[in-house]
């Protein structure tokens, strides 16, 4: 698989798969007609407000809710005792030590600021918040646990059954690592403290629940995975799944954390079941930043061993994840450190590798997956070290990467990840070309002559996608995958496809319609995509880990192909011609080369429904087909390059040029791909320069508004040039690879290396993130210059 082809706009294939179809979602979204969970209108709906822990770690001595219960408009005030029938959120992973059951409301102990302690249900949010302020909680404070190293070294236990606060520990030894390090000409190492971050979707979390008199609980959730959530709700509420319907309206962004059920969701569902009225809770931004879910903080120590000619001989890594107060959900806590450890080799040939992984509990808001999960941390450490090694070996830093990059053919990494081939070298060269790497030394020299500091950085990546059963196994902790799709033609000749994914901004209703439309020879507007409703769409894992193009797109491709066969079988009977003589185009099935011998899809569907002979020939499922789809792993690749200017006096960093080269195999819609690349890249810039969830020494979160937690604005970034390479996966249906995280994975390293390059005259070294003005200033001072 070495064919790397251009996919520039003018060369796009004529088919609908890969066409720049404008999104059908846009119409309702630009007119204010889109409906998000906060826009769900139900008669007699009441609202919830939570009373949250004001301290980081304490025993709850008493909770007094009497004044709140008597407040105007209050319908109920619930504490842990009222929710005794609701089971704590348990973990689906079969790893005993990570089971730190997370109760819907804290009973006798709180473990982070913001943990829900009580919930007020009132006629409206104003009344609910007023009453919530009247709830008095007495705390007997305990010592908070705020650092992973301290947590391991004798700090108080957050969960009595988790010794040393370490809920997960594993290691990997490839063999030969110590020998390789002993024989190395150069060893570089770096301890890196990766910043605690938030996905910070513009829509916060939200849930509306309504119990019907006949026993159906409908839950509208801002979600990425409605079927997983229905199952978790059923387990916690003690209801059969058949009595819960999860509906996902438009979702205002997610980026990972909306995969799971949260304590607040259980409280709202329970309140709806017991009050007999619909209940709504829309998280406010302060709650979101304080207690929604955090992500990514870890301490890692990485070493790379090189031969004098620049060949990478071996790696070592120790990854310690700061999971917060609950390991729930285990996948959330483990993805960061396990993905870090497993993905450290990245797009390079690594002959030997040892790692240790620890998942550690602290008195902070629990983490959830967030775009790029642990891969970003590993990528950042590795690429920083490659720049350092290049300098110390006296080898150009691009040349050092060239000498170690994988070939384009499929290969298995030393951690057992099965890459499906790509354009590892070509994407690097393309990025260098697009940012004019060759011309940079002159630009840098000219700027330095004026006392200005320009720097440039490059960061080639692979992005593990297609998170199905096998990929999950290779990631280091198994979690089976299960996805379906269905497709049908109705009596008016239009097509509907049910998809297992859960679009929350990725334009699936457009992209998957393109897939079905191409296979079935109809227009995109003739295809309706049914998703995000457990009573209408097929069972699926949802949308996370860049899996949707492979699992949603692949499942639709499979279903549409099967439906095509069925349609042609009907046409074959009606036209008395063999299926191989038939074509499907323009909404008709017909005999190739005989324009008058054709039947519209409505006619095909009519015959399939009501013509006894046709119906009998089609069998039980008629014109409605259903498929199961699992897929082997796929790995997108690409390269980010950035050029920055650093103000060495103010410590500020300005992006001058930003280039992204992306190879995600077959693209369904390049416009959507480019949007994902740009969005991920800007989140990566935020991770490198701005975003930091900060706690003080008492465990109080200090970044609970958007004035404190800084996400990038339009003027914090530069325009982004996006270029494509296309190496279709030889392993996935349709050749798609997932994408959307690569740019966020690779951007921080590119930015940080560019800053280090700009400040190289001072010997500046990156050891923590984000690199805000103060960190730059401190770094310069540590280097002995400021």
């Amino acid at each position: 698989m070495s064919a790397v082809e251009e996919a520039r706009e003018e060369q796009a294939a004529p088919g609908l798969i890969g066409a720049r179809v404008r999104r059908r979602e846009d119409g309702r979204m630009v007119t204010g007609a889109a409906r998000y969970v906060a826009d769900v209108e139900l008669p007699r709906c009441c609202e919830a407000a939570f009373v949250r822990s004001a301290v980081a770690h304490a025993r709850i001595a008493a909770v007094d809710v009497e004044a709140a219960r008597a407040a105007p408009g209050v319908l109920a005030v619930l504490t842990a005792a009222d929710l005794a029938a609701v089971r704590p959120l348990a973990d689906m992973l079969e790893v005993e030590s990570i089971k730190t059951p997370r109760p819907p409301l804290a009973a006798d102990r709180v473990r982070y600021v913001g943990e829900p302690v009580a919930v007020v249900i009132a006629e409206d949010r104003y009344a609910a918040e007023d009453a919530a302020e009247l709830v008095a909680v007495d705390y007997d404070e305990l010592e908070p646990v705020l650092d992973v190293e301290a947590a391991i070294a004798g700090a108080p236990l957050l969960h009595d059954h988790v010794p040393d606060n370490v809920y997960f520990r594993t290691q990997f030894r490839s063999g030969g690592t110590d020998e390789a390090f002993a024989a190395a000409d150069l060893v570089v190492s770096r301890a890196l403290h990766v910043n605690r971050q938030l996905a910070s979707s513009m829509e916060t979390r939200g849930v509306v629940a309504q119990a019907d008199p006949d026993g159906l609980l409908t839950v509208w959730l801002s979600s990425q995975a409605p079927f997983q959530q229905r199952y978790l709700l059923a387990l916690a509420l003690g209801l059969p799944e058949s009595r819960i319907r999860v509906v996902v309206p438009d979702v205002g962004g997610a980026f990972g954390p909306k995969d799971f059920v949260f304590p607040e969701d259980l409280c709202v569902a329970h309140a709806a079941l017991t009050l007999g009225r619909p209940v709504r809770w829309i998280e406010d931004r302060q709650e979101n930043l304080m207690a929604g879910s955090h992500a990514k903080e870890q301490k890692l120590h990485v070493e790379l061993a090189f031969a004098a000619d620049g060949r990478l001989l071996a790696m070592r890594g120790r990854f310690v994840g700061d999971t917060g107060a609950f390991a729930y959900s285990g996948p959330a806590g483990l993805v960061d450190v396990m993905f870090s450890a497993q993905s450290l080799p990245g797009p390079y040939v690594v002959p030997a590798y040892d790692y240790d992984v620890l998942g550690v509990l602290t008195s902070k808001t629990p983490v959830a997956p967030y775009r790029g999960v642990g891969i970003t941390a590993a990528q950042t450490a590795r690429e920083l070290l490659l720049d350092e090694a290049a300098e110390r070996l006296g080898i150009d830093r691009v040349e050092l990467r060239r000498r170690n990059l994988l070939g384009d053919e499929p290969a298995t990494s030393i951690t057992g990840q099965e890459y499906d081939g790509g354009s590892y070298a070509t994407s690097l060269e393309r990025a260098l070309e697009r940012i004019d790497w060759a011309g940079f030394p002159a630009r840098q020299a000219a700027a330095r002559a004026e006392g200005r500091h320009l720097g440039i950085g490059v960061s080639p990546f692979v992005e593990g996608t297609s998170l199905g059963t096998l990929a999950q196994l290779q990631s280091g902790f198994p979690m089976p995958s299960h996805d379906h799709a269905w497709a049908t033609v109705d009596l008016t000749g239009t097509v509907a496809v049910g998809v297992p994914t859960c679009s929350h901004g990725q334009g699936h209703a457009t992209a998957f319609a393109q897939v079905a439309a191409e296979v079935l020879g109809v227009g995109v507007d003739d295809v309706r995509v049914v998703e995000r409703d457990t009573e209408a769409s097929p069972w699926g894992m949802g949308t996370y880990a860049s899996r949707s193009a492979v699992f949603g797109g692949g499942a639709v491709l499979k279903a549409a192909r099967l439906l095509r066969e069925r349609i042609l079988a009907v046409a074959s009977l009606l036209l008395e011609a063999p299926p191989e003589a038939l074509v499907l185009e323009g909404g008709f099935a017909g005999i190739a080369g005989v324009p008058e011998a054709r039947i519209p899809l409505a006619g095909i569907a009519g015959a399939a429904h009501f013509d006894p002979g046709v119906r009998a020939a089609l069998g039980e499922s008629g014109l409605r087909v259903s498929v199961f789809h699992d897929s082997p792993p796929a790995y997108s690749n690409g390269c980010i390059a950035v050029e920055v200017e650093v103000d060495a006096e103010l410590g500020t960093v300005r992006l001058l040029r930003t280039v992204a080269v992306e190879d995600c195999g077959t693209m369904l819609n390049p416009t959507i791909v480019e949007g994902q690349v740009r969005g991920g890249l800007v989140q990566g810039i935020g991770a490198a320069l701005l975003e930091h969830a900060v706690y003080d020494d008492a465990g109080q979160p200090l970044t609970t508004t958007y004035m404190d937690y800084l996400v990038p604005r339009s003027t914090d970034v530069s325009a982004i040039e996006v270029d494509h390479l296309v190496s279709p996966s030889p392993r996935t249906l349709g050749g798609m690879k997932g994408m959307a995280e690569g740019s966020s994975i690779a951007a921080p390293a590119a930015v940080l290396n560019a800053v280090a390059d700009a400040l190289s005259p001072y010997g500046f070294r990156v050891e923590r993130l984000p690199l805000g003005p103060h960190a730059v200033w401190e770094g310069l001072r540590a280097a002995g210059t400021a």
Partner: protein, 166 residues
Amino acid sequence: MKITLTVNGSRRELEVDDRRLLADVLREELGLTGTKVGCAHGVCGSCTVHVDGRAVRSCLTLAVQADGRAVRTVEDLAAPDGTLHPLQQAFSEEHALQCGFCTPGFLMTALPAADAGVPLDEERARELVSGNLCRCTGYDGIVGAVVRASAICAGAAPAADAEAQR
């Protein structure tokens, strides 16, 4: 307190609590849910609406402060026959939205500049929208849409065919 608002051209008389936010009154009492509340502390700009022609943050404005004034929301941008405003059209054509949650706020922030009839360059468009947060797009599409719409409104560029695929 009793207030009178002219909302998207219609006169509305309302009885509201003094402390009730304009955003909540628009969304809850009037059903205009196109206005989004993203942060409720005036930073993200998702709740931007126009009061007497000026862009304001409806999450920081009390409904009573708008008494006697004209309020315009995203629901009023398209023509009655559904024809999109050039700015809305440009947002779609430039892929300036993904999840769409911040979109109404960006539209209302950029609308006066787009309607002013002066083409904006990329730098000015980027500055214009720098008070609003978008977490999905990386901003290039939004900046491009503002540039395109301002040119169309200034008569400096032809409006694209609605169905044209770039």
